[in-house]
């Protein structure tokens, strides 16, 4: 629904400029939208970012290769495991490191658990943006806690896991990890059913979300959108399938596709994606082999980072992070520090399309469109 001037009433009206953010309950951090309103309809929207800029890329260029691993946790602080994964993948490509079988499985399990965490939480926050008084978000937190407890038991920290290393993972799984993970995974579909019963068919949610913030297929492709948002617009593009990085081509899973590309599709595609993640986790937990959790060569990087010098060259490692394509572009000049370190953050690139989706919609819609993009400002501003 494009706003046109002829729709405007005949008598004289004024537009209202409102700055939504940086202090605003629903901007998911310090993000700001300068909107021009005609009544409640958005005529113009200008996203303002950079309030959380922390010099991530430049810092990494002044640090050992391993040293920026804990910093990647802080990019998208909801899914630190996948951030580690992407960075480790890029460095392994650069240094030609082999990853042991068991470590591959551990990585996949962690990445998919992270996907569950992220999507559950996102849906909770989307409902908060829709005006539900914290109930869905607290149900989401309830389930997320269980997975974070697992992360804490294995990696030592709930959110800032810093778990992956070049050529493997930091430590092996704890002995009770597999049974506990299986328990969580077995219970998760039941929780999703409850969640869906509360939300998916709720007429208020459907009325609010359907046909709002439509992102057409062509625009999505042209804007470089990735992840669930792109798939909600109807493009069957999943890097887990396209690249088959790590060992993803061993697992059987489907990729849900949306039809319209509105907020409801983005919401529902994520629910379906969680169900597919559970399938992957089921298979991975069944098949996980015993063995080394880190390569001997990679062990050098972990134990004495000063001696880890990848050969000259560059590499781009990308994964299907919960939010979209997360890539690290690294250039090595053969020293202990990266020569160039670049992040391709999914949140940031998905956010660029915000104005096109919001024009002609109401203020309330802009908030849920922003919510459905799934941004984390740590990653947007880096």
């Amino acid at each position: 629904m494009q706003y046109e001037l002829k729709d405007a009433p005949a008598f004289e009206t004024q537009t209202l400029e409102v700055s939504l953010g940086p202090q605003h309950p629903s901007t998911h951090g310090v993000f700001r939208m300068n909107v021009v309103l005609d009544g409640e309809t958005i005529v113009k929207l200008k996203p303002v970012m950079g309030y959380l800029h922390r010099n991530h890329e430049k810092l990494a260029e002044n640090m050992t290769w391993l040293g920026s691993m804990p910093y990647t946790d802080r990019l998208d602080y909801i899914c630190s495991m996948t951030n580690n994964f992407a960075y480790a993948l890029a460095v392994e490509k650069l240094a030609n490191l082999e990853v042991p079988e068991r470590a591959q499985y551990i990585r996949v399990i962690m990445a998919e658990l992270t996907r569950l965490v992220n999507h559950t939480l996102l849906i909770g926050f989307l409902l908060n943006d829709l005006g539900a008084f914290f109930t869905p978000v607290l149900y989401a937190f309830r389930e997320r806690e269980k997975i974070l407890d697992l992360f804490e038991a294995v990696a030592g920290s709930r959110m800032m896991c810093n778990y992956l290393r070049f050529g493997g993972v930091k430590v092996d799984l704890t002995s009770d990890f597999i049974p506990r993970a299986r328990q969580i995974i077995n219970k998760y579909p039941k929780f999703l059913d409850e969640f869906e019963k509360l939300l998916s068919e709720n007429e208020i949610l459907m009325a609010r979300c359907q046909n709002v913030g439509v992102l057409p297929k062509e625009l999505a492709i042209n804007a470089g959108i990735s992840g669930p948002m792109l798939r909600a617009s109807g493009v069957p593009y999943d890097i887990r399938k396209v690249d088959g990085y790590s060992i993803y081509n061993r697992f059987k899973f489907r990729v849900p596709i949306g039809e319209k590309g509105d907020v409801y599709d983005r919401y529902y595609v994520r629910i379906l994606e969680m169900r597919e993640s559970i399938k992957i986790l089921d298979q991975a937990i069944k098949e996980i082999p015993d063995g080394e959790f880190i390569t001997k060569e990679g062990g050098v990087g972990a134990r004495a980072p000063r001696n880890f010098k990848p050969p000259k060259g560059d590499a781009y490692g990308r994964i299907e992070a919960p939010k979209g394509e997360l890539g690290f572009y690294l250039v090595s000049d053969g020293t202990v520090k990266p020569y160039r370190y670049h992040v391709r953050p999914p949140s940031f690139i998905n956010l660029t399309i915000l104005e096109d989706m919001c024009l002609g919609q109401k203020v309330a819609d802009a908030i849920i469109i922003l919510g459905s993009i799934d941004i984390v400002l740590g990653e947007v501003d880096r």
């Binding site: 400029e17 309950p25 409640e40 109930t135 949610l205 609010r208 990729v255 203020v363």
Partner: protein, 384 residues
């Protein structure tokens, strides 16, 4: 039984008797008024305080947490702690605000909320003033709240406030009409505006909710009532996630608490009036009359809070659409159904009016079909 039922009435009479011993006769009218007014002025804020506690506990339990449990047993002293906090907080007035309007709005907004209590029949004979236009008085007063919400939003000189105020006015205009029309069937059947005679007309088990038009009227009256007091899913003027806090964005301390107080007292009195009009007010067996009134009212308050714990918010246009496209035709038809029910003989009137109601609901549903959201079916890429 009779004494428990009339405990409050007898108490007031005893107080009056005691005072008449040393006060001149002509003052007794004023003393009587003062006693009733004092009761209401104490009852209103105390209800509000414990409604906040009740809501927080209830929503907490819905969300799998405890709710307030630190101050006193089960957090029962929490409202008092909150009150102290609110009173001692810094009162911030924006520099460019219209200071008079900014001050006036929260003060005046409590008055209609308190005045409504005067026509609520809390029990047999327990009504402060038995106005012959009780329901009209209630409708008129409850809508004035919106004016003060708008004054607050205008006086704050804040864009979010202004948006909230505009939303509030638009919402009031849309929901006032179905609200007024949804009580018309009751007035039609009872033949009086007085809240006391409405309750008396529902003696025994003849509560109006057990009639076909009563169900429809009750639902519409309750929903519009929820919209009238700006509670979820109609809490657009506050719209926390969209416009920060709507009309009370710029309020802090006790002024904010007064808005809160008005909202909760309105929620209580609306529930009371809905219970009076459709659920038989204080009518009921075994228990004292005022106990029945409070059970019914708190049940409705419970539902309001349950709504809050469950629903997302509607959008402005959907809110208006719901009022004009669904509630308004339904209430208009409901007046006709009530008239039909009234003029037909007893066993067959229920059936016929129920049939007409079902037909009309179907027609409204059919007419609104394009707006009804549909379920979607998703396909998968890379089938396995």
């Amino acid at each position: 039984m009779e004494t428990i039922d009339q405990a409050f009435v007898l108490g007031k009479r005893a107080a009056l008797n005691w005072m008449s011993a040393f006060l001149p006769d002509w003052t007794m009218v004023f003393v009587s008024i003062i006693i009733s007014a004092t009761a209401i002025v104490i009852f209103g804020p105390v209800t509000m305080m414990y409604l906040t506690w009740f809501e927080r506990k209830l929503v907490g339990r819905i969300q799998n947490r405890f709710g307030p449990n630190r101050v006193g047993p089960w957090g029962l002293l929490q409202p008092i702690a909150d009150g102290i906090k609110m009173l001692t907080k810094e009162d911030i007035v924006p520099e460019h605000a219209d200071k008079f309007a900014h001050f006036l709005a929260p003060v005046v907004i409590v008055i209609p909320a308190l005045l409504i209590f005067s026509v609520v029949p809390f029990g047999r004979g327990m009504v402060a003033v038995d106005l012959s236009i009780g329901i009209l008085f209630f409708l008129a007063l409850s809508s004035t709240t919106t004016i003060w919400i708008f004054v607050a939003s205008w006086g704050s000189r804040n864009k979010f406030s202004l948006l909230g105020g505009m939303r509030s006015v638009a919402q009031m205009i849309s929901y006032e009409i179905p609200m007024v029309l949804s009580v018309v069937p009751v007035l039609l059947v009872v033949g009086s505006f007085s809240t006391v005679s409405i309750v008396e007309a529902q003696s025994g088990w003849n509560w109006f909710i057990f009639t076909p038009w009563g169900i429809a009227g009750f639902l519409v009256f309750f929903l519009t009532g929820v919209a009238e007091v700006n509670r979820t899913p109609f809490d657009l003027p506050e719209g926390e996630s969209e416009i920060v806090a709507g009309f009370h964005t710029e309020y802090s301390g006790m002024k904010f608490a007064l808005f809160y107080m008005a909202e909760f007292m309105n929620a209580f009195s609306i529930s009371g009036i809905v219970a009076t009009a459709y659920l038989g007010g204080w009518q009921g067996p075994w228990l004292p009359s005022w106990a029945w009134f409070f059970i019914k009212t708190y049940a409705l308050v419970f539902v309001m809070m349950w709504f809050r714990g469950t629903f997302p918010r509607l959008r402005v246009d959907q809110l208006m659409g719901f009022a004009w496209k669904v509630l308004l035709p339904l209430t208009l038809a409901n007046i006709f159904i009530a008239a039909l029910w009234l003029n037909l003989e007893s066993p067959k009137n229920n059936l016929i009016s129920a049939l007409v109601l079902v037909a009309i609901v179907t027609i409204i549903y059919w007419a609104n079909r394009p707006e009804v959201p549909k379920k979607r079916i998703y396909r998968y890429a890379y089938e396995d």
